[in-house]
Symmetry: C2
Subunit: 124 residues, 2 copies
């Protein structure tokens, strides 16, 4: 990696940014993580993820479906059942997602400490 080409780097950043905009946000990470334990229906997902509104869950799931990470299967019984599951691509994605989630869990205390220290530094 000698003599890095900064124009190429910038282009790569823009590209990664565009892709990240598609497949990562706070909710994506949580949803993929939960679906990693097995298929799940809409309201069950909602309950498990916690503080997510129906609208945002619905649109996030549609995005995930559009980008090929999640499949949506409707069983036409009454009331209709809609089951969400990870695709192969989604299961692949699980690895970086879990890396992120685990890091956050392991380092939460350090982040909190940094925040407290920052607040003290600013207020003084």
């Amino acid at each position: 990696m000698q003599a890095p080409d900064y124009q190429a780097e910038t282009a790569q950043c823009v590209f990664i940014g565009r892709m990240l905009g598609r497949v990562t946000d706070k909710w994506t990470v949580l949803i993929v993580r939960v679906l990693g334990r097995g298929p799940c229906r809409f309201n069950a997902l909602r309950r498990e993820v916690g503080e997510i509104s129906q609208k945002v869950l619905a649109s996030t799931l549609r995005d995930l479906e559009e980008n090929g990470l999640v499949s949506r299967t409707v069983t036409p019984v009454n009331p209709p059942q809609v089951e969400y599951a990870l695709t192969d691509l989604g299961r692949d994605f699980l690895r970086p997602i879990r890396g992120l989630a685990e890091w956050v869990l392991e380092n939460a205390a350090r982040i909190e400490a940094a925040r407290a220290e920052y607040a003290a530094r600013v207020s003084t």
Copy 2:
């Protein structure tokens, strides 16, 4: 991990979500990744990241500083120099961040294919 406690799982999701909200978004990933190559000044960072506005870069950097991932050093020359660098915590964070960025680069084609397939399925 037998007999998962779903209430605890939901609480964990909420907690992870809160932490993720602090340390990850599209821009955070890109900025940390660039700073992983070494310290960088404001406008250099801006040029390298690409399509980011000054305002968003400034506020993202302040968030990163607040959460202890990035340090900000002002050298009072004229014009003043402001150098941003990763802290120890930020360098630790580099690993999951790189995992994410690499996954996105490796799987961009699969995502694009899924999008094309989805678009075809919907429009028909």
